[in-house]
Amino acid sequence: MDPTLARAAAFINHLLSNPALNSLNPLKKEEQILQFLKTNAQSLVPTLTSPQFFSGLAWNQILQLLYTALVQETDKVLRPQLEELIRRKISFSFTSRIQPHRIPEDQCRQQMWELTQRLLQKPEARKSLVGPVTAIVNDLVGRYLEESFKDRQYVHFELTKVQRLRLGIEDIKHMIHATMLLRPSIQLFSEGGGSRGEGVESVLVRPQFAATAFDSMRAQLQIVPPGLLRGGLYSNVSFEEDKQIDATARLAAIFSSRGKNYKPIARVDRGANSPDRSWFSITRRNHKHYGFDIKMLDEFYKIASESGW
């Protein structure tokens, strides 16, 4: 290994071993380290540009080097996790039931995995994967879906009557998980923010932009059901702008965002509301800003309040 890159890797590994990051998944750790480099740039410059470290390199070059090392180190842990997720944890059996013809599951998985690997190459897409991966790993969707199906309120109606899904809860959950993994694909069409990880992650896009991205992606992913792909890309469109967005896409948008803000808390402070309840309450007030379906947020807020989540 290039000695300069080895030094960068040593530095990154030291940061990764910080106990404060122990409970986080690899992508969240990466996000935290990028944040650390960003917020402490001024203090780090004198040390890291000294002869001891990366002598003769400009801060931008050092940052590039550190980012490369960080991605390498993260990928060592992340890639096997994601592969496990796509190849084993998420069931793609639902794909054959959301369209007229049968879809070979393995090929679908393979395409999803190839797409994910492409996403991992782009800093903005990597950032956008944080929320979906966290939400899937912590099964944020499953428990809410279960309660929604018990109550048979708005979310149930939207999934079964409006989107007309004839699937069980488990399959719907897997479909939402797959939609969440497709969601960052929109970043493949965005202008790169840079190769040092400072790109802006998911921002809302116009329906026309999503439509163009859908046409392009459809040509590339011929096995992935179009309905699923469409949901993944349209989950980046504000519900305020397009009321026709599939319920699964709206749910993917909400839970990706929840996943991004998810932080395992051992003990909630006395006098504070539970984490999910707080998040849904705050997000209800910001639903226009994030383009979420307020009725879904209302329902999940109620569930979180009643369940003490």
Binding site: A10, F36, G271, W279, I282, N286
Partner: protein, 393 residues
């Protein structure tokens, strides 16, 4: 090199010093709790008719506790004096409680009793008139009320880390309540005769005086004296012993019984020329013990009520919401809402919490992405140590 050695040594000394202080503080807590148990048992022993031996041991234990707290007060006072913070110690740190719950008790309550027990004399209980004796007993027992103040001392030791503010408020309100109650009891007791609030003591002493005068009148006529004594034996059940010219004419119990069940203060003595009378005062002492236990229970219940009812209420309605809001304002990643209980939603604190929940948190959430903060704390020294170690290896 020598500098670093001396630094290590002084750090070790400081650490040892802290351990000693922590041990002494724990010792004080244990002493307070034991002293409270002793205070209760001292009265309970009177009411239950425990034998004198046991009661004397309890009295002696009380004396040692008072001595211990007097030493504690003097040590704290000395260090406050050395640190030029006597005013702070006596007021803010509640040194006045340390004082009231130690020196006056040692001087006016357990000290005189201990002296009586150790010297085997009745010096402390007064050899004067009956009324004076009763007043002395009453004053001594009332002084014991000051012991209740020790309960307040415990609050100084409780460290509720999550909310020192709640701790301080509850400690203050408890100190005020207990002190007001204790001072009222003391004031009422000492000024009851001035205020003409006559009680059992006045009636008791009047009756004893009348008995003594009546018998003294009969000493001129022996037959009449014997007849009167026979009547008094039956009608004055608190008359224990009658002596005339040094000879015991009547004794209600045996000497063994007296030595087993009559502690100092349980009997009184009156003389008229060559006539000497002893009266049983246990009923009066029991009455004082009953009152004392009642006050004790009231004080303990007041303290428990503040601790178990008011303290959680204070935390729920004041410190907890403030704590949550402070964290939300201070920490970038903290976004939990304040829980607003329906029945207190109009409180100022919860009005503020509503604004925090409904205005501040959503605004913070919208701006957080741009101002994210890393969980990793920056340590320049740690950063500069990373690579040289790698190279060494």
């Amino acid at each position: 090199m020598s500098d670093s050695k001396s630094t290590v040594k002084s750090a070790q000394q400081r650490s040892n010093g802290r351990s000693v202080i922590a041990f002494l503080e724990s010792l004080v807590i244990a002493a307070i709790l034991l002293a409270l148990v002793q205070t209760f048992l001292e009265d309970y022993a009177v009411l239950s008719g425990w034998n004198v031996d046991l009661r004397n041991k309890l009295l002696l234990a009380g004396f040692f506790f008072d001595l211990f707290f007097t030493i504690e007060f003097l040590v704290r006072f000395y260090y406050a004096l050395m640190g030029r913070r006597v005013g702070r110690y006596l007021t803010l740190e509640r040194g006045w409680i340390d004082f009231l719950a130690s020196i006056p008790l040692l001087m006016f309550n357990s000290g005189p009793f201990a002296l009586t027990l150790l010297t085997g004399s009745g010096i402390a209980l007064g050899l004067g008139g009956l009324l004076n004796l009763l007043k002395v007993i009453k004053a001594i027992r009332i002084a014991r009320i000051l012991r209740f103040l020790r309960i307040i001392k415990i609050f100084r030791k409780i460290k509720n880390v999550s909310s020192p503010m709640a701790q301080r408020h509850v400690a203050s309100i408890t100190a005020i309540s207990v002190t007001v109650m204790v001072l009222c009891l003391l004031f009422f007791t000492f000024f009851s005769s001035t205020l003409q609030f006559n009680g059992l003591d006045t009636a008791f002493s009047a009756q004893a005086q009348a008995t003594a005068d009546y018998l003294a009148d009969k000493t001129n006529d022996p037959a009449d004296f014997v007849l009167s004594l026979e009547t008094l034996k039956e009608t004055r059940v608190n008359l224990l012993i009658v002596k005339y010219r040094g000879q015991t004419l009547f004794s209600r119990y045996s000497n063994d019984y007296y030595s087993q069940y009559f502690a100092p203060g349980d009997y009184s003595y009156l003389s008229r020329d060559e006539l000497e009378l002893f009266f049983d005062q246990r009923a009066y002492v029991s009455q004082l013990s009953r009152e004392s236990i009642l006050f004790f229970v009231i004080v303990v219940l007041i303290v428990l009520a503040y601790l178990l009812i008011y303290s959680p209420h204070f935390a729920l309605t004041i410190t907890d919401p403030i704590h949550v809001m402070r964290r939300g304002l201070e920490e970038t990643d903290y976004n939990l809402e304040v829980k607003v209980p329906k029945r207190y939603h109009t409180d100022d604190v919860f009005e503020l919490a509503k604004l925090y929940n409904e205005k501040y948190l959503p605004l913070k959430d919208r701006t957080r992405n741009q101002e994210g903060e890393s969980l990793i704390q920056f340590d320049p020294a740690a950063v500069s140590r990373i690579l040289p170690e790698e190279e060494d290896s």
